[in-house]
């Protein structure tokens, strides 16, 4: 490590103003602070010691918490492909390799485009590179259908990093969740490529791994099937997997169903949630209240179930396990920058995210999934919720004055 440190010290002058590579100062600084904890010490006045926790570690913990979903996503992508191709055996390592090869280009594209923009902007502003995109870059592939063309991911990532984050001032200043806007951009800009029954299951072999899927299969997500279903009164909903077999709540909980890459498995999302909550990174108030809000709204919808809105016939448990609801509750709604920042506000914010997600899902046939839109909508309302909570504090102070 000593030699690495010495090497960095040797090449450092090249990156300082006047050096050969001064245009890459932020990039160098980013790598240097990544490799070695910066030796900046506290000012003369003020706190002389600081907690060991910093935003690098915070972001890395979130990335770690996303790994269970990423790994499961690799397996499930291959599993859906194997099912659709009609295979009877499921070789674990071959499937993991297939899933890895399927998602790798997407992760690389998201990181290269997003971090590239971050590096340029940081250098332009002469600031340190901020860590926010480490999380965003892994979230983007997880919430997109696996068959999303790479160029679309690149365009959408560039759009949201520039117009949702950087124009507001960078990490910590954005109003909307950057990863979700990427997803929303894709959803609204390229609707035909982003929904339907062909995008959630890969149809071609990759590097000779996997088979060719016959043309006739249906790879629609359960929520996608429900949105277009027209059940008769008294008839049960039928949702089927790519092999034509019905999907049970247990399947949905485990996540072996078609869907966006990383958000199908409620089980693995809960593992991630445990990591985030044990580490104290995500707010349990938000996670718990999103689920509470979702269950409440789903129960109400289920009590007034009508074939007019087929999704209302799903049980509350199904509603939680299907689609991106759990993923949004654990990883999206808890983004501290775009969520409510006051402690009471977090309960209100989370509850409303849950309610609106189910509301959109059930009563708006145009959008089979409402979690993304619910979080984005509440991102917009979070400052208002906080305003009310802060207002209460201000009013308490004013009352004291007049009393």
């Amino acid at each position: 490590m000593k030699s690495l440190r010495n090497y960095l010290d040797k090449i450092k002058p090249n990156f300082e103003p006047g050096g050969k590579f001064h245009a890459f100062q932020s990039v160098f600084d980013g790598f240097e602070t990544f490799l070695f904890t910066p030796n900046t010490t506290a000012g003369r006045v003020g706190a002389q010691i600081h907690d060991s926790m910093d935003s690098k570690r915070t972001m890395i913990i979130v990335v770690l918490a996303l790994l269970p979903c990423l790994l499961f996503g690799m397996y499930n992508t291959a599993y859906q492909h194997w099912l659709a191709a009609g295979n009877a055996t499921f070789p674990f390592f071959t499937m993991m390799l297939y899933g890895f090869l399927a998602v790798l280009p997407r992760i690389v594209v998201a990181y290269v485009v997003g971090l590239g923009i971050e590096f340029v902007v940081a250098q332009w502003r002469r600031e340190e590179i901020q860590e926010g995109f480490l999380v965003t870059g892994i979230l983007i592939p997880l919430i997109c259908p696996i068959e999303t063309p790479l160029w679309m991911i690149a365009v959408a990532t560039a759009f949201s990093v520039i117009f949702v984050k950087e124009v507001f001032g960078g990490t910590g200043y954005n109003i909307f969740n950057v990863a979700l806007v990427t997803r929303a951009f894709l959803f609204f800009a390229y609707p035909s490529q982003m929904s339907g029954d062909k995008v959630f299951v890969p149809t071609q072999p990759i590097l000779g791994i996997g088979g060719t899927v016959p043309d006739g299969f249906t790879g629609a997500t359960p929520l996608g099937q429900i949105a277009v279903a027209s059940p008769q009164a008294g008839e049960a909903l039928s949702i089927v997997g790519v092999n034509g077999q019905p999907i049970s709540t247990w399947d949905a909980f485990l996540g072996l169903i078609p869907g966006s890459f990383g958000e199908t498995s409620t089980l693995f999302i809960l593992i991630g949630a445990v990591i985030l909550l044990l580490c104290g990174i995500a707010s349990w108030k938000i996670v718990v209240s999103v689920f509470a809000g979702g269950l409440c709204m789903a129960s109400v919808a289920h009590l007034c179930a009508t074939p007019l809105y087929p999704a209302s016939m799903l049980t509350p448990l199904d509603q939680i396990c299907l689609g991106g609801f759990a993923f949004a509750a654990v990883y999206m709604a808890t983004d501290p920058v775009t969520a409510a920042r006051t402690e009471i506000g977090k309960y209100i914010y989370g509850f409303l995210v849950g309610v609106i997600a189910i509301l959109i899902r059930v009563y708006n046939n145009g959008y089979p999934e409402g979690a993304m839109l619910a979080v984005l909508l509440m991102n917009a309302f979070a400052p208002l919720i906080d305003w009310c909570v802060v207002r209460a504090n201000i009013r308490r102070r004013q009352r004291r004055l007049t009393a």
Binding site: T40, R57, Q130
Partner: protein, 451 residues
């Protein structure tokens, strides 16, 4: 009769270098003392002495430009050896070489202190007024301030802080006399906050408040916020019990008795101890022979005060207000820590559960002065609130201060806070913002704008 308050929010840090088996303070005579005007916020100093002047204990060194009756007096007798000035002739310190032959302490009339005016006059002329602080603004109070209440802190919950019960020992009669003087200058009460687990004795004439909590529960601001918060237009006085005892000593002796007991602590001290010395004593004298043997092999940070709200003065610095603690920690700028953000080393001190050190309740830590990260925008929410036991929306107040929005600062309660109240928040902040500096600048800005 005493009140009790329980505070759940706060910070408990276990640092290496505490005084474990307290003994009687060791006398450390010093050859010189220095007084720094920065210790008296709100004062624009105008010198009363020149280099070469002979001063005695209690002679004025400088006074305030706006209120000339507010003076800072000499804690020692001797010759003014240096008047140190910085950029634009800003007064940095007045250094006095101690001379035992110098004249006797200045006498003050302490009889007939029966009303507000005479009590104020005594405090002002003796220089003890400058040791008091007021809310709002956390500055030396104006001589004509209408004082609603007085809040005295009789404990310190900061890491490695001195134990007030030991330091004050038998000073009860002094404190009683001090309370009597303070009661002359306020129509309200004199509240004394003390540690509920290790309380000092009741002081006659004062309203005792038992405080149960961890840092910053011992701060005067936290005490006031939980007993009777400061409203716009009101002024309260804050001081610690050591200054209260000084007021009492002045009353009973007729002159200033400037000795102080200082806790010399920190991981770099071989045997932490209490020393008895003068306010403004040179730190080098206090630390002489007490630094750990291998301390020369690394950079050190010498702090006057505690690790959360103190001032880094360096080994050549002087003891600064409130003259009760010196802490020495490693500086940390001479180490190369590989991927510190991923470290699972048990020696890493943190409030975060991602560090094993968080769970080692009995471990004593030796943190260095690194900020352990880079400055960022405020990303995580609710961090400050966890360590601020006041009804203040800390994050919103900080943002209002940064944006210099006077109305919003007022409505969010800036009049109730001092920089030190944000010391614990500054420690835990993962965005590594200099909260105490931000609050100090906000208070100064507000005071200038509203004058």
């Amino acid at each position: 009769m005493s009140k009790s308050i329980n505070l759940k929010k706060g910070l408990e840090l276990n640092l290496l270098g505490a005084i474990t088996a307290p003994e009687a303070p060791v006398d450390v005579p010093c050859k010189s003392v220095a007084i720094d005007p920065a210790d008296f916020p709100g004062i624009t100093p105008k010198l009363d002495v020149r280099e070469g002047d002979v001063v005695s204990v209690g002679s004025p060194l400088f006074h305030d430009k706006t209120y000339p009756s507010v003076v800072v007096t000499s804690p020692a007798a001797g010759k003014v050896s240096a008047v140190v000035r910085g950029e634009r002739r800003k007064l940095l310190s007045v250094v006095i070489d101690i001379d035992q032959e110098a004249p006797a302490p200045v006498k003050f009339t302490t009889t007939g202190i029966t009303d507000d005016a005479s009590a104020r006059a005594l405090l002002l002329s003796s220089g003890l007024w400058a040791m008091l602080r007021q809310r709002p603004y956390d500055v030396v109070p104006a001589p004509d301030a209408v004082i609603r209440d007085v809040f005295v802190t009789a404990w310190d919950a900061a890491p490695l802080a001195p134990d007030f019960r030991l330091v004050l020992s038998d000073d009860l009669r002094y404190m009683e006399a001090g309370v009597a003087v303070l009661r002359r200058i306020t129509k309200g009460k004199v509240y004394v906050g003390r540690d509920s687990r290790n309380p000092i004795h009741d002081i006659p004439g004062a309203e005792m408040v038992n405080v149960n909590g961890s840092y910053p529960a011992s701060n005067a601001g936290v005490l006031a916020a939980n007993v009777a918060p400061v409203n716009k237009g009101e002024t309260i006085l804050t001081l610690d019990a050591l200054i209260l005892a000084s007021i009492g000593r002045l009353m009973l002796a007729g002159h200033l008795v400037p000795s102080v007991v200082v806790a010399v602590t920190g991981p770099e001290i071989t045997k932490p101890l209490y020393v008895r010395t003068l306010p403004g004593a040179p730190v080098r004298t206090l630390l002489d022979g007490r630094l750990s043997p291998d301390a020369a092999s690394r950079h050190l940070r010498v702090i006057s005060g505690n690790v959360l709200s103190g001032v880094s003065v360096g080994i050549d610095g002087y003891l600064r207000y409130p003259y009760r603690q010196v802490t020495v920690i490693p500086e940390g700028d001479d180490v190369a820590e590989f991927m510190g953000w991923a470290s699972m080393a048990p020696g890493k001190m943190s409030q975060s559960r991602t560090f094993p050190g968080h769970f080692l309740r009995n471990r004593l830590f030796s943190p260095d002065a690194r900020i352990n990260g880079g400055r960022r925008a405020i990303i995580m929410s609710g961090e400050y609130d966890k360590v601020l036991p006041m009804d203040i929306m800390a994050e919103y107040l900080i943002k209002a201060i940064i944006s210099r929005d006077i109305d919003r600062m007022e409505s969010l309660g800036i009049y109730e806070v001092a920089p030190e109240d944000f010391a614990a928040a500054e420690y835990v902040d993962t965005s590594k913002l200099e909260l105490q500096r931000i609050v100090r600048e906000g208070l100064d800005y507000l005071r200038d704008e509203l004058r």
